[in-house]
Symmetry: D2
Subunit: 181 residues, 4 copies
């Protein structure tokens, strides 16, 4: 990570839980999320990577990588930071040359509005497909990380393991890559 990222990590630590709670009650929060993918030599999708983790509503779910963008932090630095926190230092993610997301997910405390739900906050998430060259290890709070083939990811049994809209996010990513079965 860059020096800037380290500084921001400090400012993040300094921001108290109360400060965050106050901001969350007043404004939408900026998020970045990454759908980790394995590609072959021609850039074709072979596998989608999904964490198994505890969600904001305290359920367990398969989920993509990501989190909050800190004050003063660039989107690229936030993306790199969350990839490292969630997938470990050996994942070797490949950040894309354009920071324009392939889709935007709007998470609301009210689950009826958009199909994306976060009981803690209103979050606007910029979502990216991120090729992973190395070996991800679920760090921090995740229980597992698994690579799945496109047809597995859209299997009803796997979809049932994804809450708060994560399954819809992954299907959007598959469609974007031309790999939605």
């Amino acid at each position: 990570m860059t020096d800037i990222g380290d500084d921001l990590e400090v400012s993040h630590d300094w921001l108290s839980e109360q400060d965050i709670a106050q901001a969350r009650a007043r404004v939408p929060i900026v998020y970045v999320q990454a759908v980790p993918v394995r590609l072959d030599d021609l850039g074709q999708l072979t596998h989608v990577g999904l964490l198994l983790t505890i969600m904001p509503d305290r359920t367990m779910s398969r989920a993509v990588v990501g989190g909050r963008v800190n004050f003063g932090e660039r989107l690229r630095d936030a993306l790199a930071r969350h990839l490292q926190n969630d997938l470990g230092p050996l994942a070797l993610p490949r950040l894309p040359p354009s920071i324009t997301p392939f889709t935007v997910a709007e998470y609301f405390p009210n689950p009826e509005i958009s199909g994306f739900h976060d009981p803690r906050q209103h979050a606007v998430s910029l979502v990216y497909v991120i090729p992973i060259d190395g070996d991800p290890e679920p760090s921090r709070a995740a229980l597992d990380f698994a690579w799945m083939r496109p047809e597995e990811v859209v299997d009803p049994a796997v979809i049932d393991e994804m809450n708060l809209g994560q399954d819809r996010l992954v299907r959007r990513a598959l469609a974007h890559m031309g790999c939605l079965p």
Copy 2:
């Protein structure tokens, strides 16, 4: 505008200046911005619309349309609200079927970081090209609204009238439309 939008306008009024200032000091703020365009029958760009307005640094500048997304407000509602506030009720903007922005502009209090500058805050702005069918009238704080041909917009004299990165945003929009001279 929808009922949801009206309710949110109320909650916006209710959010005090102090509350906003506190949020701005702690988290990045979500923005939407629109580059208003005039298209011919084949969808080809004929003119770009630019406001003349007072900027956050108190300079006067040509600028695109937009503003903050409120808590609980969808991106589409925020985009429609700012288009109406900035261009009046007769502008007839055409919101696109996909809410994925064509580019993202990251505004920082420090002007050195990204080329987009906002002394008040760190803002992450989702930017759209919005065709305008009707007759925009600069409402609210704007001094003027003018339609310009692509070659006018990239004229050094006009670029000099755009501060805080607005000229870069407009050139990105021209490139996206295949109209950067």
Copy 3:
């Protein structure tokens, strides 16, 4: 349509079936396709429009609009021409400010390669989502044109009515608009 378009229509008529057949045996053919959509005032998808037509493999299928790009014809002119041919002069399609497609479909004579199949040719199709303001009437060879809600389009019974990959194309469009159920 523009004068250029009219001239090209002539050159198209002049191009014999034999000439086309020879080209089709030697090079990929450029196509444009449009997914017609009905939007509400905020740009949100309400309905997807589908033709009922005879396909290149002589089956009957629900299908999107489109066709070949002629020699010398711009993509915008080809898109406008096929929209008019397929949906009639009162459809009032809204061509987008950028001619970059939201997806590309590669049709091959071999149905195994990409999931998009055309027994007559190898076609590379640039695909667009096109809002329709007016009243489409199926002209030319189509038997019907129907507006369907997103949840209808992904109903297995409707998917069964779509051949040669048309259902996959429509699901990609829904995902692009954030409306894939």
Copy 4:
């Protein structure tokens, strides 16, 4: 390269110059083009790569990589084949997970129509930004290959070295990456 690519290379050789000339006189030809880029660890652009080569109008020009898509060849295979032909086997290009181009360039025999000119044909080119990890060596007909910083690429002296619209293509790529000065 894949076996399919090798087979297609054979079919390409087999297609006589006369056959190609006939197709070129009748239909638009499908092209893929790649803007080679060097990225840092965060995915940010550091350099754009440009060939120095003889153009279709027999002038010498800085140019991006690319060429024709063969009959039966997938876009990914064509892109990989031209990258290998133009930059050698050690370039290690990274093909993207989505084959949707960031822009489309329409080349016409008439230089007035689109700003992209090819005296030999009407070509529709799908254009990609391709990160290069290895060491490109100009093979085939190119005289040179050079990495340039973004501000060098838009220098009037360098723009003067780019013909037939290549400079416009590169500026579009810079804008797409958020790096147009």
